[in-house]
């Protein structure tokens, strides 16, 4: 795909929207955490996610797949995301550097990759192995 053509495809702009939204989420999390303790941040944050979930529900005309397994995994996802969110807000409240904390916490794919290898028996690509090396380097640097 040529450099110019990429600006014409929808997915590129959706991806940009995603990057900007998550950047805003991290910054707002930091600013809010200056005053509000982590559990309350997570409590209010959850109400913020509601309009988007409702919009998706309306978009799907209230038709959701009835897969107990799928629903179980997705709800468990929410519980664990919430626990992670609590720790995320608490990390910001320690007063550490916002850029460093955001970058360090974005390394969570290392755990996903490790679990995918051990539980789902997926095989690592060479790029992913290189990624693990960079993640290790980042951790060593951040621990100073």
């Amino acid at each position: 795909m040529s450099t110019l053509a990429i600006f014409k495809v929808k997915w590129f702009w959706y991806s940009i929207l995603c990057v900007l939204s998550w950047g805003a989420w991290a910054l707002l999390s930091k600013i809010g955490s200056n005053e509000i303790p982590a559990p309350t941040m997570q409590f209010i944050f959850t109400f913020g996610t509601l309009p988007v979930a409702l919009a998706l529900l309306v978009g799907r005309r209230f038709q959701l797949e009835k897969s107990p397994q799928g629903i179980f995994y997705a709800v468990a996802n929410g519980v664990l995301s919430g626990i992670g969110g609590l720790a995320f807000f608490a990390a910001f409240r320690t007063g550490g550097n916002t850029s460093v904390i955001t970058a360090a916490t974005s390394l969570y794919p290392i755990i996903t990759v490790a679990l995918a290898v051990t539980i789902l028996r997926e095989r690592l690509t060479w790029l992913q192995i290189a990624g693990l090396g960079f993640a290790a380097a980042a951790f060593i640097i951040f621990s100073f």
Binding site: V9, K10, W11, Y14, L17, C18, L20, W22, G23, A24, W25, L27, L28, I31, N34, P39, T40, T46, V52, L56, E65, S67, G70, I71, A74, V75, N77, G78, V79, G82, I83, G84, A90, T94, G96, N97, T98, S99, V100, I101, T102, A103, A104, S106, L107, Y108, P109, I110, T112, V113, L115, I119, L120, G131, F134, A135, A138, I141, F142, S143
Partner: protein, 138 residues
């Protein structure tokens, strides 16, 4: 070795969100990405009784409460945009690493907005972390 106070909290984030990455994959094997997000929000609400701050909620400034609420809006909006990117033809192998670059927005804006600066060594760590995330998401 003296670890910064946020280090162990970041470890909790990594472990819980790392498992989330796997569950996300397992849930979307059975249901659509949109349904996954809807049920994920249901999961968020299961925690609410444990987090309920009571009267203390009204002691915080309206401004901080707004930031907290908007943080939730933007988090979910980003997740929706990610699904939309994949649905409109974006390959997961390109969209995932691309969207994992969100800390870059923070690195660029934090010095201006929060007046925080990072040391050369911390900057190197951020570059390593961003490279790692992009490679791991492939």
């Amino acid at each position: 070795m003296h670890l910064p106070p946020w280090f162990w909290l970041a470890a909790v984030v990594l472990i819980s969100w790392g498992i989330v990455g796997l569950l996300q994959k397992l849930s979307t094997n059975h249901i659509s990405a949109e349904s996954s997000l809807i049920w994920l929000v249901v999961g968020f609400f299961l925690l609410q009784p444990l987090l309920y701050p009571g009267q203390a909620l009204w002691t915080y400034s309206a401004r901080s409460l707004t930031w907290a609420l908007l943080s939730g809006v933007f988090n979910a909006l980003g997740a929706w945009a990610l699904f939309a990117a994949m649905r409109s033809g974006g390959k997961a192998s390109i969209v995932s690493p691309f969207t994992a670059l969100y800390p870059l927005v923070v690195v660029l804006i934090a010095p201006l907005l929060l007046h925080e600066s990072i040391s050369l060594l911390q900057g190197l760590g951020v570059v390593c972390a961003l490279t790692a995330v992009v490679l791991l998401s492939t």
